[in-house]
Subunit: 233 residues, 4 copies
Amino acid sequence: MNIHSMNERSFSHCGLFTKPSIKGAVYYTLKGEKGEMDQGNAKYNRILDAAIKVFAEQGFYQATISQVAKEAGVADGTIYLYFKNKSDILSNFLSYKTRMVFDRFRQAVDNADNAEEKLKSLIGVHLADFQKDRDMAVVFQREALLARCIDEEDLRKIIKMYTDILEDILRQGQKEGTIRGDMHIGLAKRFILGAVNEIINTWVVTGKVAGGGELADMAGPLVDLYFKGIGKE
Amino acid sequence: MNIHSMNERSFSHCGLFTKPSIKGAVYYTLKGEKGEMDQGNAKYNRILDAAIKVFAEQGFYQATISQVAKEAGVADGTIYLYFKNKSDILSNFLSYKTRMVFDRFRQAVDNADNAEEKLKSLIGVHLADFQKDRDMAVVFQREALLARCIDEEDLRKIIKMYTDILEDILRQGQKEGTIRGDMHIGLAKRFILGAVNEIINTWVVTGKVAGGGELADMAGPLVDLYFKGIGKE
Amino acid sequence: MNIHSMNERSFSHCGLFTKPSIKGAVYYTLKGEKGEMDQGNAKYNRILDAAIKVFAEQGFYQATISQVAKEAGVADGTIYLYFKNKSDILSNFLSYKTRMVFDRFRQAVDNADNAEEKLKSLIGVHLADFQKDRDMAVVFQREALLARCIDEEDLRKIIKMYTDILEDILRQGQKEGTIRGDMHIGLAKRFILGAVNEIINTWVVTGKVAGGGELADMAGPLVDLYFKGIGKE
Amino acid sequence: MNIHSMNERSFSHCGLFTKPSIKGAVYYTLKGEKGEMDQGNAKYNRILDAAIKVFAEQGFYQATISQVAKEAGVADGTIYLYFKNKSDILSNFLSYKTRMVFDRFRQAVDNADNAEEKLKSLIGVHLADFQKDRDMAVVFQREALLARCIDEEDLRKIIKMYTDILEDILRQGQKEGTIRGDMHIGLAKRFILGAVNEIINTWVVTGKVAGGGELADMAGPLVDLYFKGIGKE
DNA sequence: CATGAATGAGAATTCATTCAT
DNA sequence: AATGAATGAATTCTCATTCAT
């Protein structure tokens, strides 16, 4: 018997956002936080961490289960006690990480007052969280796209989640009178998300941040650009 | 002897933009234009076209040489007369396509007068060209990133090429007085490129354009957003 | 220490019919009959029953220890307290079952008077017993042959046991004057056994009995055929 | 590209007897008979022969593709150019062999006049053919039963093919007045087939023929038993 | 140049068996 | 005795690449 039931709610099987909790994800969240976390969870997390590290370094398709197992310090076969197959590792990671990341995004937005502050807060958390965990960032930005093992539908949902948050902010700003009413919201959403992704991608590829500071420091100037544009009044 | 010398200057071996001409690329450019083009070149192009189609459909790693050969109507072994290996096909494509695309981009920019027109022209051609050839767009946006067979250095160069064009435009705009002088140019470049990529990606994944029209139609509204931002004056 | 000494006398190691008693078999025989039977024996039997069920359904090689354990309601490891390995389960079953079946066969033969009655009784019990326990029948007819884990020598012995019984009957019939003296006894034995096996196999595969009744009902008509043949007078 | 289209009509995919010809089987038939047989066919046959030899020795599940490849003198991968997978080898063999064997059986029956002669001829060919190729006999008698990779439906069809031939003979005999009209034909068919199988199985397991001669020599005495039975008139 | 059959290294995955608890 | 997580050997199958024709 294996622990698969625990991960049952993987991307490819149950839809990404339909079930409320992944045990694995929960355990993962608890990483390092609870002394009473048992071995099984620890191992699930160890494998997940190792896999993301290896995927980030090698790319999903280049990475082998053996490499992941070695990195995690377990036998090859052990991986299959926790994950259905190689794709399932990535699925579980994306599923869990998406959930976690969006929880933080929502929080960041909820804790700010007006549209501009909300946007600044959202972008700030986005950049900070991704900078904090480069492996995650690499896998999220690069592998998620290509991984044909991930349902395109799920991919769309992840993006939609983000653009939905943005849409809320934009509409609020329009009500507040701080954001133009005469623009294409669908375009504006992509416009905002695109810049953030581009900045993260540049950092992922070059290791550098435009301007030389922290990734999160770009949130202010970026939101400034979003609002004022590049044009001279 | 095979034709490899011809492709020697592939991405992964000699750097993308260091040597002035790729015979293959040249042949490719000439596709359908010159009656005196010999069989070999035609076959080179057939394989390249077939490969991009298959890569776009299956993903680079899922695609097999056999599929490409079948699509191209040649034997598996024939591919190796024109390309060193599987990665080399993608490398050659990116190398050639980058060159071609940037030629068109430069032209688009050169044919316009002021910064705003240049930007509009650049984005317009970018969107139009990618929409015209979805397979190319898919491979460019998705596979290029993940394909570890492409040198990261080369990837950086491609992006730099684009942002260099943008930088020129931005500086010209600043001189013209149409673009703010008090902004971070490095950030602005990513800000511009990011939106274009995001719009293309959305189209690639969903098949839809925000707004419902043609991809190229977004150039105007997008540049408008770039200049004015989302803020209410 | 484990209980292995108990099963030491498995098919593959000590020969099937050389030692007088298998503890496991004895326990098995006692299944449900003795209140003082301890837990260990009950578990031994539970595993054996479960294994035969799973082997019958999946085939010996397709069946996994985990499936057997689950069916038996014990942990995977527990199986190895009672059986040396997977083959040993089958060996023990065949060993026990052969013994049990032949006890009943001998009894059936002993309780009848003349050769024809003996034969009818033997065939009747054979068919009835196999019909009563389809899993056993499947394993006996199908898996026993293919399972290379069973010593061919043992296989020969089982068959010989049966044909020895038949030989006794045939010789008695010849003495009694009811059975021809001018025939090849070795051939006649196979002739008799073959028909029974074929009828059981047909039932195992199709689930049907030629004629549509109970398997055991075929004993009479079959023995009639044995004696009279298919020829007209 | 591989040669699979050639074997398309495998047991498990298209039903056993629905399509008229297996190229592979045809080639196989021609083994050693036609000088112009090309390499591909020769290899297909080499692999098939090797596989049957290995399956007969090791059993289907114990046998590995590597063993088959080694026996055939080809690389492991080559096997997959000719067969979809391990089961497909067995399927193709059984499919081909069944066809061939039944052609010979039909011929044997057609060339004889009355029921008794037909039966004698059928049994004679059956025994002779199986004795001629022990590996085939082993695989046919033992592995075919157990191989869960073979559709049970197909198994039934093979058996039915044989019993259909027998039924024709029995009915003809009844018309001719040489065979009893008062017997259960379904039972009689199994009765006949069972004896043949038992004799072959005994020979497969012990290497011996009851009586000590050739397997085919048993046809006469056996048919004599069928007709006259074991009873003293 | 072109072919495509053959190769064999390499990867994912399974599962009998062990052993620390 | 019982457990079941962990192991890792073993196996199937894939596919980029080669090379004789």
